[in-house]
Symmetry: C4
Subunit: 208 residues, 4 copies
Amino acid sequence: MEKETARIEAFSDGVFAIAITLLILEIKVPTADNDLAGQLLRQWPSYVAFVISFAFIGIMWINHHRLFTHIRRSNNTLMILNLALLLGVTAVPYPAAVLAKHLGRGGQRTAAILYNGTYFVIAVIFNALWRYCASRNGHLLGQDVDLATTRRITFQYAFGPVFYLLCIALAWVSVPASLLLNLALAIFFALPPSTTERFIGKRGPASV
Amino acid sequence: MEKETARIEAFSDGVFAIAITLLILEIKVPTADNDLAGQLLRQWPSYVAFVISFAFIGIMWINHHRLFTHIRRSNNTLMILNLALLLGVTAVPYPAAVLAKHLGRGGQRTAAILYNGTYFVIAVIFNALWRYCASRNGHLLGQDVDLATTRRITFQYAFGPVFYLLCIALAWVSVPASLLLNLALAIFFALPPSTTERFIGKRGPASV
Amino acid sequence: MEKETARIEAFSDGVFAIAITLLILEIKVPTADNDLAGQLLRQWPSYVAFVISFAFIGIMWINHHRLFTHIRRSNNTLMILNLALLLGVTAVPYPAAVLAKHLGRGGQRTAAILYNGTYFVIAVIFNALWRYCASRNGHLLGQDVDLATTRRITFQYAFGPVFYLLCIALAWVSVPASLLLNLALAIFFALPPSTTERFIGKRGPASV
Amino acid sequence: MEKETARIEAFSDGVFAIAITLLILEIKVPTADNDLAGQLLRQWPSYVAFVISFAFIGIMWINHHRLFTHIRRSNNTLMILNLALLLGVTAVPYPAAVLAKHLGRGGQRTAAILYNGTYFVIAVIFNALWRYCASRNGHLLGQDVDLATTRRITFQYAFGPVFYLLCIALAWVSVPASLLLNLALAIFFALPPSTTERFIGKRGPASV
């Protein structure tokens, strides 16, 4: 059974690694001969989209990794949920490219909504995956994972969908603000659960 | 010998992971400045092709994974059959892109036939691979795999080529219907063999 | 030290898996609305280049794999030689695309020479890598690898560069013939060393 | 804890393998029918950028590998530093493509500065990662790593940022010279630390 999880992790690692590396292909090379420096600078929207997307996928990988140190058993539902999560992750280069193309131009609000909306969906699936594993007394978790740890993790990840909704809403007011919040969220999820708990306050919800 | 299979699995996992992640590259980014939302919506054929193809490769991976929990020994023929299977899997982004480009337009029937035809060929190779391993009293399977399990698996996978042929035939009548059946097949193969058996009826063919 | 080889193999597997999966990206999707079937058929040069290149990389992977069941120790020179081999393998999608673009047109001879030339260089590096490991009484090989096995492998792989040179020469006379020989070579190298030896005759050269 | 590092290594290996394999996609296939040989030769800047970038990523991988034979423990900071390193590595295909496009033309100085600048940033992060692991008596290193080894490694890698700065400066005087130094650096870092120490002189700085 342990081995089962090992191959899910290996496959997921592969998908994360490829999705994060494909992001660079969306930055187009300037072709005009004169003023290359100026052309490179005018591509700032591509760099912004690249860095935020890289941070998101990279830190999503760290968190996927973190969850699977607790998940020990596997079943069909977990595989499907994990596949749904990977569907979201592999899709990221597309909204990232749409954002890069339209940032600072007419369609930037639509692009930012699509971009943050993708992350919202991924965050929802991520929560569903964890909650499924943690349900029925943590039926897919290791024996050493106590209830307090489970609750702490459930509590931290619950912030994801809420805040990405906020990013979507913010995009109506200010696209740069919504992207800044998006980046701040990546940094938030890069912190280990214990740190974020101290930051937010000790009490999570009582029920898993 | 066990190790032999390990490296085949690792290589196959890599190919599956890359093929599934490359699918997104086929969705082109809209470039016109105005009405981005409308442009994004008009790209629905790309999204349909992306989701069905992702489901197919993802669930093909789950099934590959499932087979290799039973396959313990390796030889040259298995490696060649596995390579033929991977040839089919890596090819998927191409018919998927053809489908995305022509769905809802003149060439959609041809595109759907090419698309389902690719899956038919992959399903045939998948069956050949399994039947080869299971032949001669399961000469490449683990000792713990009993005849009943072998038959059950042989029985379930035999549906693949038959139903993908049906998808091809359906494409002559209705392209959307053939794609819906295609997606339904992916869901069918996502279920564990025991469930599908209960669904279809307990008796598979008597011979492996 | 064993572990050292493990990570080289994992990295190489990754590169092989990616290079083989990228080949499909070089087949361009026909965009004109009418006569899709005709357009697809006219892309036969792309399919030919795809299948031959897939066979080459796939079977090169099998052989890489086969060598590393014998190679147990690692050092800096091996890593550099392996990196040189991977440089060749990652380059394959480019000559394959050049061939696909020009097959059946004016530049096909040049394209076929470039294509076979790439394989010639890869085959030379492959031989160098093996001979280095096998040199000084097999200083990087496992203790269980006897001299007879070493010689047999050395003997089989020595055919590679010679025959790819022949492919290059054949391209001057007939491009299809050179590609057929290329494909035949892939099949030849897919056979295990013992079979090919029986095929060619029992005696390899006496010295490693 | 050991396992923790294993998955970081596997993920990093994946990213390195993909980034190094994507480089070939930046070489565009000549499409004109006549004088294919001439067209291929005129693409020399693409080949130069491909080979130097391949050497850089490949040898960066060898060194990453070398470091992680010493790094045994993992924590959040290491994961973030490693992610920052991978951000740099995945970015390489972009400056490589910019260089390939502009080498021998008007923007080549700017392109060479961007190219070497990317490597400078990667080298700085690489040093930061190692120094972090080695700090506080090597708190993330294995028990068997003695102070002398640590210092030797710290000493060798400190050359990286300095020499890539020199490459940037050289690009103002001569672009070919800066690329040659860049390639020479890759070769320098391909040597094991003991060799380079002998080459440079036995004494590194006394403090880690």
